[in-house]
Symmetry: C2
Subunit: 440 residues, 2 copies
Amino acid sequence: MADHDRMNDLEAEHEGFILHGAVVYSRDAKTLEAADDAYLICVDGLSKGVFSGIPEEYAGLPVHDLWDKLILPGFVDLHVHAPQYQFRSLGTDMELLEWLDTYVFREEASYSDLEYAERAYDLFVEDLYTGPTTRACVFATTDPDATLGLMDMLEETGLKTFVGKVNMDRNAPDYYVEDTEDSLAETYAFLDAVCESGYENTQPILTPRFTPACTRKLMDGLGRIAAERHLPVQSHLSENRREIEWVSELEKDAAFYGETYDRSGLFGSNGKCVMAHCVWSTEDEIALLKKRGVFIAHCPDSNLNLSSGIAPAKRYLEEGMRIGLGSDVAAGSTTSMFAAVRSAIQSSKARWRMFDESVKPLTFPEAFYMATKGGGAFFGQVGSFEEGYEFDALIIDDEPLSSMLDASGRIHAAERAERVMYLADDRHIAGKYVAGRQLF
Amino acid sequence: MADHDRMNDLEAEHEGFILHGAVVYSRDAKTLEAADDAYLICVDGLSKGVFSGIPEEYAGLPVHDLWDKLILPGFVDLHVHAPQYQFRSLGTDMELLEWLDTYVFREEASYSDLEYAERAYDLFVEDLYTGPTTRACVFATTDPDATLGLMDMLEETGLKTFVGKVNMDRNAPDYYVEDTEDSLAETYAFLDAVCESGYENTQPILTPRFTPACTRKLMDGLGRIAAERHLPVQSHLSENRREIEWVSELEKDAAFYGETYDRSGLFGSNGKCVMAHCVWSTEDEIALLKKRGVFIAHCPDSNLNLSSGIAPAKRYLEEGMRIGLGSDVAAGSTTSMFAAVRSAIQSSKARWRMFDESVKPLTFPEAFYMATKGGGAFFGQVGSFEEGYEFDALIIDDEPLSSMLDASGRIHAAERAERVMYLADDRHIAGKYVAGRQLF
């Protein structure tokens, strides 16, 4: 970026600006706010709200007229594996445990070659940068140096991310398993290196892979780190039936899967925690998820691809649990959070019709909420344009998706946002802001 | 198209040509043929097969070297509604009958304004032309003139289609319902006009909307036309549970839904027949579908969007029934048959895991087969590169989807084809042939 541009950005960030266009955002899971012609105000990186005209106190701010473009909050990907990006949408005829052995471990191990890691992560980061995501919780590999390299790249983009060096000390191939003590020591070293880096956008997150791959000793060690350093945690929970059975065989003392994290202090008792999937969580597990305020990363595309099942996301939402969406690349085929919204809605309908009529399908406003404000809460006041929220925004040029109904005035902002979830891709993202800073 | 180009096309068609690249096609539902470096030969619009080198008898043919591009058969959309294209991916929170009343009838009625119809159909036809589809069975509206206009446009593209003027004489709004006699008379007039048009690529197909919207008298009349003129038939069958109940109330004499078509000669007894959906077909209905050789247009994206359910496509396939895929725009969100393949696989996994473990998930080769050779059979020897098949081909530039695994030689043609189903769109379609003629 030229120095001149950067100065303009900083100036704009400090002084604020106004975007004029069609605006859609969530107030809560049931309330989608939509306006065809609105002014969205940003001052010092925060939203001041959405108005039908420019309030007098902001009259001096520059107005960027986006005409008929659509302005949406940035999307939050609560669960994505950066080193799996290279084999997205391959081997879709497998279930979780076979797929881990065939694709995942082998590929992740190759990231200890830092040259390979750099070239591969560059493809992932470029995709995330150009797509709908403004914030993400990212799994890297066990290699701390490769993970720091990934963090450097992400920092550069301006996206806000949590990135985890993966910990795993059992039930993995010889070429991709850690010694328990080494795993903990490398985690400390990794965290120290992150502290020294002075990242503004990129934060570490503790990342035990999942219970089958982590001994109790490793979990306890990570729990101590979480407590000492007030760090957030991400992992996997109750994704696949065989996996859950395996956990119950490995950890006979635990009453349910979630307890294997909780007893080590890795389930929200020492700080924020996000668990991917929760497809088959039991009533006891759900009660503990609630009690601890754990975030659920609902990953519908992944859960379909690996035949894991369909999580009762609507129930979680209606019971006031913390829930957002994850792409879960590469079990999910794409990093596009638009696709995650579509997949969440479609799979909830299948679940309702074919499996359990007591849990109703997700509506478009609900799925949109999960992908923005729902997941955004993991990052603070993020994912909405309500006053005080960090200013993350996408500028969508949906003209190529428009039809005769648009021309006749029968399509409004909320319907355009719905259509974007089903039909748009990176071609339609004309601009992106994170915390008030324009990335492009 | 310039005359010069057209001459070249005709010459090429007569003399034949060879495409050199990576080739993937289905031999049967279980057998996906894939070669990383192959020669695909076309003579007089027909495939002569796929070879590892150029056989001597074809040595004189021009070779088009496509380098690392991927060559797939053209895709066949067995069920799509042209006049619904304008509202694709809108109103996805509704079920079938509410959606018909809210969106479908109102929009379709507006096609009697021929200027509107021309502008709207132009958007649909352009989308079909640039996407993966080479052949399609298309529903138009009740208006014969607008339908002829659509056929003119489709003819011009070089795509091969069956197009139906819709018949419906009950249970529809006053502004969009036909008188029975008028409906039949207009169908005769429509068919005569098609005969006079001299279309090469575009054929008529009888199109009773569905049983709830067609009286017995109308059905019988259409059955007579089918018998007199040896015309194919397309309609809807057993899509939604409330719809099926409604049919049983309306047609108390029929033992099951399919019989309401069969007793009028509209279920394959007078010629080819394709029925969309078959989500909830009973054993008796399945037996009759088999007996009559009816094609099933499996429309997974539509069935998810309207919460209809998930058809047991794998069972139909394994029992040797005729089955292909349909986009079913606009209940399906997109005309992309790549997306239909992905949706077929994903929804079959959900059905298996959540509903009925006796019907296994569809594999990628099976879904690919349905979208090409399975549906292609409705058009004759279509949808494969085996010798004697009509030469429909897509040239895919999947380089933008490639990853480090491609560079290291770990990804081959079949895996590239799989990835295309999950990630590619019209940007990646670099060329298209129908019956040996290059469209672009």
